[in-house]
Amino acid sequence: MSLLQVKEVTHSYGSRSIFNWKDRSKKVLSDISLSIEEGTCLGLLGRSGAGKSTLGKVILGLERPQNGQILFQGHDIYTADNHTRKKIRRDLQVVFQDSYSSVNPRMTAERIIAEPLENYEKLTVAEQKRTIIELLERVGLSEEDLKKYPHEYSGGQLQRINIARAISLKPKLIVLDECVSSLDMVTQTLILELLRELKEDFGLSYFFITHDIKSAYTISDTLGVLEKGELVELYGSKNQFFTSEHPVVKEMRGSILSEHPRYRSVRTREKHPKSV
């Protein structure tokens, strides 16, 4: 059984009132079906407005879809009883793109990471502190960072704290919604490296939402492409992305920026000196 199954999910936003006979709502997800196996990472590519984040929210249980089911370990997360829901919540974590707005600016790192622990684990004060320090060290920070406030961290460091919070309860699935997109290249590489390590160590599964083909390719095992609310392609192996003939995928491939000025395509009009 797959860890997570998304079955024929359809969702739309917008107003529908009894005075408006015409349905003016906008369809954001139509008939999405996919599944994530334990210990693997599904990358979801798509341009902005394709419905990637909505699908992420639907999976997290934050946005009830109009049709379809989300099965987490066989339980429908929207119809499960409170007890099961609480258990599912624990196994389902999220890291968002904007690290600053996902933390409370008036809490120290210690309290930020302590929050899920307080909700689920019954630890003594000393145990909790030890766990937090371990978590901080796991994500590459140190004990000295315990008492710092969010504004004292850089974006990359704060994203590490968000990751520490997400892994604090040893979840099964983490939804990573553009979690490296606002970081610089060097930090991106480091965070992706960390995520990959954590995946191995804890046997985590990821649902990696991004528009960046390069980072999706680095971390994912399987890849899906979302376009205008439809899952146009779903690959069992990420390499199929580079051979696919689907027009949307072709366009995406065409938009990858060159690695070297020799291959550049934006500025082609002028002649450039031939390099060695």
Binding site: V186, Q188, I256, L257, H260
Partner: protein, 276 residues
């Protein structure tokens, strides 16, 4: 305009920026020297926090002068900017030097329509009346392939996607044919499909109006697509400055090598991406 008389439209020499705080004086950037020639693109690369944005802000004289001191000289079209008072600077910003910010969502006021803000920019630098300014705005928006500009002008910023807003910002920046465009991470907040479109429009503006562009980015892909020359910044200093081909082929400084490596770790195992 004086543009033709000075091949170096922007010359920054011996730029130092210090900040006064409770712990004494800190240096943000030091020994910054570079020149921008008409119609050329200088790429400024570095990790977050290395002083890229401080450099651009000091060119625009946007730093808080109570706490920060700018030393050195910044010459635009033969005119010294450092030390100019606010009233004089206001005439230069937007007209001679245009600024394209990283996050288009925050660059606009949410309470006014796009048209209001666009026309205000045009009118504050020219003698045109509202009707003429509107026409110019519509034409500039056509120029960056925005669909239905007349309707767009009546929209509020939050009604547009990030990619579209960024193109509106490029349209605003370009409509007064500035000598220098400072583009601070212009595509970082956009998805990949829009990235190349925005870069193309930026390049179109450059080739048509001969604007020089200071392109700030941490993304070496953007730099390799666009730049003629690249300056690598680390901890507030320019550690290496070279032609873009030379920099990618034979990086001299250790830090440049590190940056180039960080890029290839991200997707080292596939050769296909090079020819995309």
């Amino acid at each position: 305009m004086l543009g033709t008389e000075h091949p170096n439209v922007l010359q920054v020499s011996d730029l130092h920026v210090h900040v006064k705080s409770n712990n004494g004086v800190n240096t943000l950037v030091q020994d910054i020297n570079f020149t921008l020639k008409r119609g050329k693109i200088l790429g400024l690369v570095g990790e977050s926090g290395c002083g890229k944005t401080v450099t651009s802000m000091s060119i625009l004289q946007l730093l808080d002068r109570k706490t920060k001191t700018i030393e050195g000289s910044i010459v635009v079209k033969g005119r010294e900017l450092n030390g100019l008072d606010d009233i004089e600077m206001r005439k230069i910003r937007g007209k001679d030097i245009a600024f394209i910010m990283q996050n288009p969502m925050n660059a606009f006021t949410p309470v006014f329509t796009i048209g209001h803000q666009f026309i205000e920019t045009i009118q504050s630098h020219t003698q045109w009346n509202k009707k003429q300014a509107t026409e110019i705005a519509i034409e500039a928006m056509h120029h960056v392939n925005l669909p239905d500009p007349v309707k767009l002008l009546k929209y509020y910023p939050f009604q547009l996607s990030g990619g579209m807003l960024q193109r509106v910002m490029i349209a605003i920046a370009a409509c007064l044919h500035p000598a220098v465009i400072i583009a601070d991470e212009p595509t970082t907040a956009l998805d990949v499909n829009n990235q190349k479109i925005v870069l193309r429009h930026l390049d179109k503006i450059r080739s048509e109006y001969g604007s020089a562009i200071l392109l700030i980015s941490h993304d070496l892909g953007v730099i390799s697509e666009m730049a003629d020359e690249v300056a690598v910044m680390q901890n507030g200093r320019i550690v290496e400055k070279a032609d873009v081909f030379q920099l990618f082929d034979e990086p001299q400084h250790e830090y440049t090598k590190k940056l180039l490596n960080a890029r290839s770790i991200l997707h080292s195992d596939e050769p296909i991406i090079h020819f995309a």
